[in-house]
């Protein structure tokens, strides 16, 4: 059962967005999220819908996969829409009146607007994790945070990146180990699947303690191995892989920029 835990959601389809620089993707994602919030009119939002649909098409990842991510936040979407439904101005005409609550056409419009906005935000955010491997994400974060070195945080940036790399490296190893320990405890008669929640949590203790101990041992051995590989806290360290902007990056930037300008223009004109 533990094997089902996947780290990251990367799906390989060899699309242009997959090839793009992780730094570019991350910065543009932040920009797009801001733009979706900026789009105040229905026209602006429809344009955002068009942009996000284009992103989905270009990634070559089926829409169904994207929609799966929506399931988890469905309650939030519903709640937001329902609350917004009651906040329309009464001038727009009353649609329904139940007891003291009135739903106006304006309210309905707001509800649909809000729901669509959240859906777009989630889909566009998923497109980053679907098209970028955890390693590339780590690389991108390290590079994006690198300006921090000018305020004396150089080793902090490097340490953070290394921590993320090691965490990613050890997730499958620890999952495997946890499975082994669970089987060993089951063989000794441990009951992990029945009983109340509190009983089940208690049953996890004999799994977590050996896992913790072995992790500490691993960490110690890893530290020694890193020392043997001349690690000295990242001072004077270089990188084999250099991130380089390619034509794909410039194309993606251009398209996003056009979309951004359009959203701002619509806001000004309307």
């Amino acid at each position: 059962m533990l094997r089902d835990i996947t780290f990251g959601q990367y799906i390989e389809t060899k699309s242009p967005i997959h090839k793009a620089d992780p730094r570019v993707k991350m910065v543009l994602l932040i920009l797009v999220v801001v733009l979706i919030f900026l789009a105040q009119s229905m026209y602006g939002l429809l344009l955002s819908l068009a942009f996000v649909s284009m992103v989905v098409l270009v990634t070559k990842i089926p829409l169904k996969t994207y929609l799966k991510n929506l399931k988890a936040v469905l309650p939030i979407i519903l709640l937001t829409s329902i609350i917004n439904m009651f906040y329309g101005d009464n001038d727009s005409g009353v649609l329904l009146e139940v007891w003291k609550l009135t739903i106006t056409y304006g309210g309905l419009y707001r509800a649909v607007f809000m729901a669509l906005r959240i859906v777009l935000l989630i889909i566009v955010s998923s497109s980053l994790t679907y098209t970028t491997t955890p390693n590339d994400l780590t690389d991108g974060i390290e590079h994006l945070l690198s300006p921090l070195k000018f305020i004396g945080l150089k080793s902090a940036v490097h340490t953070l990146a290394l921590m993320m790399t090691i965490a990613l490296r050890f997730i499958p190893t620890l999952v495997e180990e946890a499975e082994k320990i669970m089987n060993a405890q089951k063989a000794r008669g441990a009951d992990l699947e029945s009983g109340s929640i509190i009983e089940r949590i208690k049953a996890l203790i004999p799994i977590l303690i050996p896992l913790l101990i072995s992790s500490v041992r691993r960490a110690y051995e890893l530290a020694e191995a890193m020392e043997c590989r001349c690690y000295n806290g990242g001072e004077g360290k270089t990188r084999m892989k250099q991130l380089k902007l390619t034509s794909v990056d410039f194309k993606i930037m251009a398209v996003t920029l056009i979309y951004g300008v359009a959203v701002v223009l619509i806001n000004i004109i309307l």
């Binding site: 390693n135 790399t165 990613l168 490296r169 499958p172 051995e221 043997c228 590989r229 084999m240 892989k241």
Partner: protein, 281 residues
């Protein structure tokens, strides 16, 4: 004679529950450049401690160890010693840092601050020399134990050390993985001229070494060619080592009155020796 490592009266003591224990007790020897040395010893014989002394991970309590003329006690040249003497440990899982093979191999050279193009070349060369080039983009946890250990070796080779120390690199591997590692080491020794010090308790792995040292209770009790060492079946058994099956068989035959030579090692040589002995009878 050109020695890469010189050990002079090295002692290593540690405190365990208020009792001072000696893991390495006044040991002296040197390792010739380009040689293939095997250090044999049972668990707790001090062989792992000795390994860590050789690349400066531990400092001798007394005595000195020189790597290429540099004293390992010298704080300023600590990195230099580690660059010259690479070390591979028992568990491959706990040595790999990155989740992409080539990025892991690049870790050492990156720490040395080399130029990206130089690192690229070294990584490719190192992966080629352990026969793992085609796996450069896969992730270590999908590989077998032997393959992971070869990646760990590549990670050290990429720093271009003159000497490679391996502390029981095959202890957690299956027989197939064990063979992979031993033949990789032999290849690195022959083709790249890298000095190899292999620490193990599997005597089979000592067969083709230039020299075998036997360690027990922190002391080197024997230091000779594999053939000479394997003749001393009684001594080896007394320090808790199991001799190869071929040696065991020949030894038993000889004890039961057969006039047979016991200084052969491989299965083929053993078969020939037995055939020869039978013809003579």
């Amino acid at each position: 004679m050109d020695n890469i490592i010189e050990v002079r009266n090295a002692v290593y003591e540690y405190v365990d529950e208020d009792v001072v224990k000696r893991a390495v007790d006044n040991v002296s020897f040197s390792i010739e450049r380009g040689s293939f040395t095997v250090i044999l010893g049972h668990n707790g014989s001090g062989k792992s401690t000795l390994a860590k002394l050789l690349n400066g991970l531990l400092k001798p309590t007394d005595g000195d160890i020189f790597v290429d003329g540099i004293n390992t006690k010298d704080e300023e040249t600590e990195i230099e010693v580690k660059r010259k003497v690479g070390m591979v440990f028992q568990n491959p899982d706990n040595q790999l840092v990155a989740s992409v093979v080539e990025e892991d191999v690049a870790f050492g050279p990156e720490n040395l601050g080399l130029h990206p193009s130089v690192i690229r070349k070294r990584v490719d060369d190192a992966l080629n020399s352990v026969g793992m080039y085609e796996y450069r983009e896969s992730t270590p946890h999908r590989l077998s134990g032997g393959q992971k250990q070869r990646i760990a070796i590549a990670g050290i080779i990429a720093m271009e050390p003159s000497c490679l120390i391996l502390d029981e690199p095959t202890a957690m591997l299956d027989p197939k993985g064990r063979k992979e590692i031993v033949s990789t080491l032999r290849k690195l020794n022959k083709e790249k001229g890298i000095t190899v010090v292999l620490i193990t308790h599997y005597m089979e792995e000592a067969e083709k070494a230039d020299r075998v040292m036997v360690m027990n209770d922190g002391v080197i009790i024997d230091d000779n060619t594999p053939k000479e060492i394997f003749k001393k079946v009684e001594v080896l058994k007394s320090v808790g080592l199991s001799v190869p099956q071929t040696t065991e068989l020949l030894y038993a035959l000889k004890q039961n009155g057969f006039n047979i030579s016991t200084d052969v090692l491989s299965v083929e040589e053993t078969a020939n020796a037995i055939a020869y002995c039978l013809e003579e009878e």
